[in-house]
């Protein structure tokens, strides 16, 4: 009886694999398709001519990739800098209306941001922040803060208090105790937060456009233009390009993305 269990298990996993990799396979096919019409099930011409167009000296793909990466990394840095103290306080220190504070970080995601970013752009122009990497980083940070603060809070609540208390009783200052005892233990959770902020930043479009363009070109903008124009090849190649940092980052930090790290999110 149990021997036959491999059948439903195989079918289930196969179906899941098809649903997950089918769309991605489609993306790969389009990236190398020169011609692909109905009723051909597969491209009738293959080649690299669209790759040449994306990476042509004036195609600005490299610049967009560089900008997207820079912004994503700086966003991660700024988010962590804000979320580590906030998450620590929310997890450990007495605070009034904790739930409300946590929820307030949801606001930037809860309002459709198109109209808000128009206003932000207006404000940024006055401070010369428009069209700068710094401006885009700020917008992305605010947008991703809910993930980093919530996950950081969870990470700190998962660390037992006794270590820090022991360090304090042995005469270490509060900052020292935090740095040497609590922070290292919370690190995997904080790195998980970093992953999500990084992905969120790579994906962000509206804010990048209103605050960044034309001085700061980002990959999602390139992708949106190509996709909206129905140029599937260029869109697919740009999409693949966008996947490189995502998957690279994933491989780099995957060992930190352990399930138990996230066990306490929302508690």
């Amino acid at each position: 009886m149990t021997r036959l269990l491999w059948i439903p298990r195989g079918i289930g996993l196969g179906l899941l694999a098809f649903l997950i990799f089918g769309p991605l396979l489609n993306l790969l096919l389009w990236a190398f398709a020169e011609k692909w019409f109905y009723p051909n099930a597969f491209p009738s011409d293959w080649g690299f001519s669209y790759w040449g167009r994306v990476f042509s000296p004036r195609g600005a793909a490299w610049e967009a990739l560089g900008n997207s990466l820079t912004v994503a990394l700086l966003t991660v840095a700024l988010s962590l800098m804000l979320s580590i103290p906030a998450g620590y306080a929310l997890a450990r220190l007495p605070l009034p209306a904790k739930a409300l504070i946590l929820l307030s970080f949801l606001i930037p995601q809860a309002f459709p941001n198109l109209t808000v970013y128009v206003n932000i752009a207006r404000i940024f122009y006055q401070f010369g922040l428009n069209g700068t990497i710094a401006g885009v980083v700020i917008v992305h940070t605010v947008h991703g803060l809910v993930l980093s603060v919530w996950i950081a809070t969870a990470a700190f609540s998962a660390v037992p208090r006794d270590g820090e208390e022991a360090a304090r009783s042995m005469g270490a200052g509060p900052f020292r105790a935090f740095r040497d005892v609590t922070l290292p233990q919370a690190l995997p959770g904080l790195l998980a937060a970093a992953i999500f902020v990084f992905l969120e930043s790579l994906d962000e479009f509206t804010g990048s456009y209103f605050v960044g363009a034309p001085d700061v070109q980002m990959l999602p903008l390139t992708l949106f233009t190509a996709a909206g124009g129905g140029n599937y090849q260029i869109a697919s190649i740009t999409a693949l390009l966008l996947l490189v940092p995502s998957i690279g980052f994933m491989l780099l930090v995957e060992r930190f993305l352990k399930a138990d790290v996230l066990a306490r999110v929302g508690k």
Partner: protein, 281 residues
């Protein structure tokens, strides 16, 4: 007032100081511009009024319902799938299948929404790979096949993209559970499905809800997916906002739609708080 320097005092000051920079960031760079948007929702040429909301009632009620339906259905499916996957990861007996599943389910997490929309557009087309696969197993007749590019495509995209995220959180919560009770239930002959539903799920409900609320706000604000995948009317609120601005240059109704959307997410958030509080007490 007790001095904040004393460690054991229940003063809220140090905590507030540590939270302040992050909160200030949200306040200055989002809440203030947001306030301008909310006031804009009531601004019309004839001064302050509810005219923009009247127009919404006139034109966009079906779209609001459609949005609720799409988000609701997506959330439900995400909950089911993430519980199923996380459950199998926790209770599965075949280590190879568990390892394979663990490797498999995460991929969409790393695919940006805009890429998701782009790939699904071709995957779900009439002659796309999904129909191709269904034809292969005889579920769809190529002559009468139709494309999936309507509300179903949006739900597909949302579930595809968000399930791994929620699964990750839920699986995390499940691994930290006490294995003892689970083993006990299994030993007493409870099926794994029963164990998952009766023993495991109640204990991870809080985490599941958190994952779902984060998914809901994300789905509510994603523009690329409905724009690229949904051809039919009705459409989602975000697409209407974009249309209101692009076709009419009408920020009043766009802002009012934003307020409606905010009210909807607030509704979900209040529900979440209620459930969360009940659990904690």
């Amino acid at each position: 007032m007790p001095s904040p320097a004393l460690p054991r005092h229940r003063s809220a000051l140090p905590g507030l100081l540590l939270v302040a920079p992050a909160l200030a960031m949200v306040l200055v760079f989002f809440v203030l511009p947001l306030a301008a948007s909310v006031t804009g929702a009531f601004a019309t040429e004839e001064g302050r009024s509810l005219a923009n909301f009247a127009k919404i009632a006139d034109l966009y009620l079906p779209d609001i319902l459609f949005t609720l339906l799409v988000i609701g259905l997506s959330t439900l499916l995400i909950a089911v799938f993430s519980l199923a996957i996380a459950g199998y990861l926790t209770l599965g007996r075949n280590p190879r299948a568990v390892a394979l599943l663990r490797w498999l389910y995460r991929w969409p997490l790393f695919i940006p929404f805009i890429v998701t929309a782009q790939v699904l557009r071709t995957f779900l087309a009439k002659n796309g790979m999904l129909n191709g696969g269904l034809e292969l197993v005889g579920l769809v007749d190529p002559a009468t096949a139709s494309n999936w590019l309507d509300g179903r495509a949006i739900v597909f995209a949302f579930v595809w993209k968000q399930t791994p995220f929620v699964t990750l959180l839920v699986a995390g919560a499940m691994t930290s559970l006490d294995r003892g009770t689970i083993e006990a239930a299994l030993n007493m002959g409870a099926s794994r499905l029963r164990t998952l539903w009766d023993i495991v799920t109640p204990q991870v409900a809080g985490t599941l809800m958190t994952g779902l609320i984060l998914s809901i706000v994300t789905m509510m604000s994603v523009l690329s997916v409905p724009m690229m995948l949904n051809a039919t009317a009705p459409t989602t609120i975000t697409a209407d906002i974009a249309f209101r601005i692009n076709a009419y240059g009408d920020y009043g109704v766009a802002n009012a739609l934003g307020v409606v959307s905010l009210l909807m997410t607030s509704g979900f958030a209040i529900l979440y708080l209620r459930l969360g509080l009940k659990e904690r007490t």
